[in-house]
Symmetry: C2
Subunit: 379 residues, 2 copies
Amino acid sequence: MIYMDNAATSWPKPEPVYAAVLSCMRKYGANPGRSGHRMAVEAGNILLYTREMLCQLFSIENPFRMIFTMNATESLNLAIKGCVRPGDHVVSTSMEHNSVARPLKELEKWDVATTYVKADSQGRIDPDDIRRAIRSNTRLIVTTHASNVTGTLVPLGEIGKIAREYGILYLVDAAQTAGIIPIDLSQLPVDMMAMPGHKGLLGPQGTGVLYIAPHVTLNQLKEGGTGSQSESLEQPDFLPDRYEAGTMNTPGIAGLGAGINFILRNGQNRLLSRTSRIEKFFLEALLHIPGIKVYGPTKMEERIGVISINIKDFDSTYISNLLDKKYGIAVRGAIHCAPLAHKTIGTLKQGTVRFSPGIFNTLDEVKICIKVLEQLTRL
Amino acid sequence: MIYMDNAATSWPKPEPVYAAVLSCMRKYGANPGRSGHRMAVEAGNILLYTREMLCQLFSIENPFRMIFTMNATESLNLAIKGCVRPGDHVVSTSMEHNSVARPLKELEKWDVATTYVKADSQGRIDPDDIRRAIRSNTRLIVTTHASNVTGTLVPLGEIGKIAREYGILYLVDAAQTAGIIPIDLSQLPVDMMAMPGHKGLLGPQGTGVLYIAPHVTLNQLKEGGTGSQSESLEQPDFLPDRYEAGTMNTPGIAGLGAGINFILRNGQNRLLSRTSRIEKFFLEALLHIPGIKVYGPTKMEERIGVISINIKDFDSTYISNLLDKKYGIAVRGAIHCAPLAHKTIGTLKQGTVRFSPGIFNTLDEVKICIKVLEQLTRL
C-alpha cells in the first residue's frame, strides 16, 4: 500500500508516537488535574509537555494559550462561535473547508452575515479583496492557511495586517500546514489558529489545538468539570481550563507531544525541504502528462504538496477506487468537504483525485504513482 | 501502587484495549468516512463495530443512535444545549456533577431556569420531589445515575416514568455506571444517556458517548466536515453525522470497542458481582471503624462502589496525599467537581477522601486500604 492521503490524516506516525500513547495508557493512565496522586500528576505533566512542544514549534511563550480540543473542527467552532455575535459580519474565502463554512452557515440563523471572497481559478486569494469585503460590523476574518483541495497558500501576513488595521480578529485554519510549514506566531498578525493534531503534527486522531492570542477572550463551547475551582458552578475563567471541560484525551495528547518532538528533533525545515523536493518532482511530472489536469498553482512557492488532479473526464471516485483496488495506492477522490473550493476551480461535479504525500513517502513511491497515472490516461 | 481512583478513570485497562488502540494506529490509521481506500474503510468499520458493541451492552437496535464525543461532558453539553431553549425550565438534582451543573448555570444567561431537587443527607432523591418541581415550561429533567461523591443510585425508572407522563425529555448522566451496572435502554424511559468511554466502559480517555432515543432530535454543538454530503454547506441531518463533525478519535474508539467487548465476554453481571462483593466488604469494614465517617447509603443495593469517607476532622486532601505518598494508595481528595453534592452531605469545606475500586482491584488491596485507614484514625 502506498499511502498518499496525508491531508486526511498522516500515516504512519513516527514510532515514538505509538510508544508515547501506549506508555501513557499503561504507566500513568490516570485523570490529569483531578486527583493529587502521583499518576494523576504525571498525566497532568504530559499535557503540559505537549503544550510546551507546541509553544516551541510555533514560537509562543505561554503554554496555556494552547487549548486542546478533539479536532481542528472543534477548534474552529470554538473560535468562531466564541467571538461572533448576532448582527456581526464575517469575511472568509471561497477556499474554505466545511469545518469553517458549516459553522458560518449555522451562524446565519443567529443573524450573522458572511462574505466569501472569491479566489482565482488556482485558488489564490487577493488580500485587497479581503479589504474590500470588510464592513463596519465585521468582527472576524477567517481563512485557511492552505487549501485542502488545491494546496494553494493564503498570504496570512498580508491578511493579518489588514485585520489589525481594522481591529478585526483573524482566525487561521492551519489544518493542512500546522507542523508542515514553519509558522511563527510571535511574528504573524494572527489572533487564533486552529490545527488538527493528527495531520502535520503527526499525533493520533482525536487531538486538535486552538491557539488563542493573549488579547483574545472567547465564550467557551462547553462547560463542565475541570478539576479546578471545583466548588464553583461557573466555568473557571482562566486558561486553559476555561476552554477544556471534561477529561482530556491524555494518551492522544501524549502521542501528539511525541509527534511534535519528532518534528523539532529532525528539524521542521529539513523535513519540509525533503518532502517539497518529492512533491515538486511529482507536480512537474504530472504537469507534463497529457490527459491529466492538475489543479492549483504550478509553482511550489505558491502551494503545499496537496496535489489534486483529474484524468480526462473520468469521475474522480472511479479513478481513486481504481488506484486503491488495482494498484494499492491510497488517495482521496470526490469532493473534499470543501464545496466552495470545488466550485471555485470548477470541479463540483467531477471532484478531484487528491494525492497528499507525507514525510514518510519516498521518491520511489511517487515515481510509481506517476507511472500508474500515465497508464490511466490511456484508459 | 494500589489504584483506587476508577471513578476518575479506570486503570489499568484490559490488555485487548491497549492492543486495539495500537493496532488501529499502526494498521488502519486512516481517516474513517473520508476517503474510499481500504484503510479508510477499515477505520470506518471500527467505528461501526464499537457502536454495535454499545448497542449490545445497552440493548439498543440502531447503532447510529450512539454518538461519539470527546467525553461525557461533551455528551451532556450536546444533550442539554441541543434541546433546551430560552424560556425553558430544567429540573435537576443536588447530586449533579459540574458537567451538568455548569452547562445549566451557563444556560441561565439564555433565560433558562433550573430547579435543583434536594437529596437527603445520604444523597437519595425522592421521585415525588422531581414531580413537584415540574412546571408548565419544563423541557428537560437531567439526573445522574449514581453520585460521583456518595455513590448513591438515582431511581431512573421512576423519574423517567414521570418525565414520560408530562412529555418532558429525560437525560441521564451515566458517568459512574455505564459499563458497570446493567442498563437496558430498550426498557428504561430514558431519552438520552451520556457516558464516558474511559471509566466503566474500560476504553481510553478521549472517548465519550451520547445515546439519543429515536424520537429525539437535537441541535448539534459543532458543524464541520463529516465526509458525507460534502457538497453541502449545511450540516447533514442524518445520524450519526449530524452530531459528529470533524475527525473522530478512531484509535480511542477502537480501544473503547475492545473495552466493551471485554465486558460482554466476561459477563457484566459476573464482573459486577465480583466488584460488589469487594466493595461491600470495604464499606462494611469502614462503617465499623471509629473515627471514620462514611458518606452515602450504608446498603449496597442503594449505591455503587464509590466510597467517600473522612477521617475525623482532617482535611481530605491531607489524607489523600498521605495515602499516595506514604502508602502508595491512589484516591481522590477534596471536592469532586460536584459542589452541590458536597453541600448536600455537608462536606463543602472538608471535601471527601474517595475510594473507587474497579474490576481489577482485589480483596487483598481492599484489606490493605482498611488497615491503613485504621492506622490513620490514630493520627
